[in-house]
């Protein structure tokens, strides 16, 4: 079955295709009656202007592309919800792609989106090294991009970020204030800026409170990472009094293993996570964690992007840093 095109409508009414086109694009002069007639018969015929053809000529699509590493952890989904809200309101449709934490796939994703002529991109980087030149090239071609969550200084684009240093400092301080000493930090994936910043916060907290530096263990962001580290600590009989993990998955993985081995949380080991996951509230005991303003991140990114789309050519890249919250729960309460 063939698609109904502008020609079919034109033929049916014995008008030119430009007239039909005009009926669908208010900005031109056209008699009200003809327009109504055209719109009506178009509807009857089931005609919808083909946006592919439209894109080809107008070079814009009213589509926005979002690329995220995954959406299993409700962190990215919530951000996308926030972004979608704003973008829908402005008449944009949102195309989402996931990179699966692979920079090659991320690259393909972005290319696909660009190929589809999205008007702009919202991206959370998977790698801080691999695609930088490519992104710079896109930016040079005046394709609006906003990065969030993970970004790279050398890419001159707008960014929506979180102050990992500050909140890691707060999270660690919280443990210190509760009276815990001998705190171990389980770091995130190696080499990531946010990993480094969370680590810096951890260290700064110790300095600020004139404590000897805390122990640092390279861990990772997955539950298995936390499980592995906990097992190693148990095997080596080096049980810390408290743990500050670089994210919730890792914290929960460690917590589970400790629990299985009979350790009580927080009585034997207190634990604090980072980047509030849906799980934190529901684990036993519930997990103290730093919450990021996910919805706000999405909205802010979208607004920044829209601004950039509207002032294409002469806009100044902005970096917005949003605030979070420390949700104190049972895993780190003060023990008597």
């Amino acid at each position: 079955m063939k698609h109904i095109t502008i020609k079919d409508v034109a033929k049916k009414l014995n008008v030119s295709i430009s007239t039909v086109s005009r009926a669908f694009n208010d900005k031109y002069d056209i008699k009200k009656e003809t327009r109504d007639l055209i719109l009506q018969t178009a509807q009857e015929l089931g005609y919808r202007p083909n946006p592919i053809a439209r894109k080809l000529i107008q070079q814009r699509s009213f589509n926005i592309g979002i690329v995220v590493p995954e959406f299993e952890n409700s962190f990215f989904p919530q951000i996308m919800l926030g972004a979608q809200e704003v973008l829908h309101n402005k008449g944009y449709q949102v195309l989402i792609m996931q990179s699966n934490y692979s920079w090659e796939i991320e690259r393909k994703n972005v290319e696909t989106l660009v190929d589809n002529m999205v008007d702009g991109l919202i991206i959370s980087l998977t790698s801080e090294k691999q695609n930088n030149e490519y992104y710079k090239e896109l930016l040079k071609q005046d394709i609006p991009i906003v990065f969030f969550n993970r970004a790279v200084d050398e890419i001159p684009a707008s960014k929506v970020l979180f102050d990992d240093f500050k909140w890691a400092l707060f999270a660690t301080e919280h443990l210190i204030m509760q009276g815990y000493r001998d705190i171990v930090h389980l770091t995130g994936t190696h080499n990531l800026t946010l990993t480094k910043n969370r680590l810096r916060g951890f260290e700064q907290a110790h300095r600020k409170h004139k404590l000897p530096p805390g122990k640092i263990i390279s861990c990772g962001f997955k539950m298995e990472d936390g499980e592995r580290i906990a097992q190693e600590l148990i095997d080596r009989n080096e049980i810390p009094r408290a743990i500050f993990a670089a994210n919730d998955s890792c914290a929960i993985g460690a917590m589970n293993v400790f629990k299985q081995h009979g350790y009580k949380i927080p009585n034997d080991i207190a634990i604090v996570g980072f980047t509030e996951s849906k799980l934190a509230k529901h684990t036993y005991p519930s997990l103290t964690s730093v919450e990021q303003p996910t919805r706000d991140i999405g909205q802010t990114s979208a607004n920044l992007l829209l601004e950039q789309i509207e002032n294409k050519g002469f806009f100044v890249p902005q970096t917005i840093i949003l605030n979070g919250r420390l949700n104190v729960r049972d895993s780190s309460i003060k023990i008597k």
Copy 2:
């Protein structure tokens, strides 16, 4: 900055645009040397064939659209991962859109995807009523669609489903075998086929074991729904001995409220959920639940779609029903 087009490459090498085009589409005759030369200079110039133009003429895009209600619960994300795996392997890119449980947005999503000329669609319906005529129309236009999770009989398309009846029966039987009586079923969202099927399974289990019919409470799929129902039961002092909830969120919501009021799970109330969420393993106590083969659902849907794309015109809609698993955990263990 202007986009580099086929013309730029042609001009640079003093060949016709058709030759350049041929270099990019193996199927035509072209001298190896010219092709290599063209490909190389194209690379240097940063030229990539514009897929929009390509789509316009070829009427295909090697893009597949997936529409889901949400991706906060890891259920849909895992399915998409499975689908993406298969589709990437076959050279397709995957565009994802979320309907937010609104059939209007779902409609817009599908329209956007069709407008972008995706070669096929994988959809989980949000409503079983609202867009049916539209989908039938698309199918008539030979647009390949596979529905999964939620589908409607009257739409003649391929479907990948789960046997809700059977697994609700198993789940309920599990409670019965553990010795629990006075079981209450918290149903899912009203009017959905899967809600009805889970309910039927619950009832059938009672019949099969010659028990008086269990109590049924209309609940919903959200955590708040479960919380509300639990609160009502407590207020009315109608504490059941066991609960079979239509999904995990609802089960967990109810469990939390009961726990807050001092009830022990499963000693006072046993609970079984449905459709394994990531949470189930981590709640306290851990939640017995029916697990759907999410990854398999995604892969199967993708394969069905690819088959359909390749045999466009004459294919027979298939319905594939996949198997699940009951993960027995602490919330429903036998009490002494």
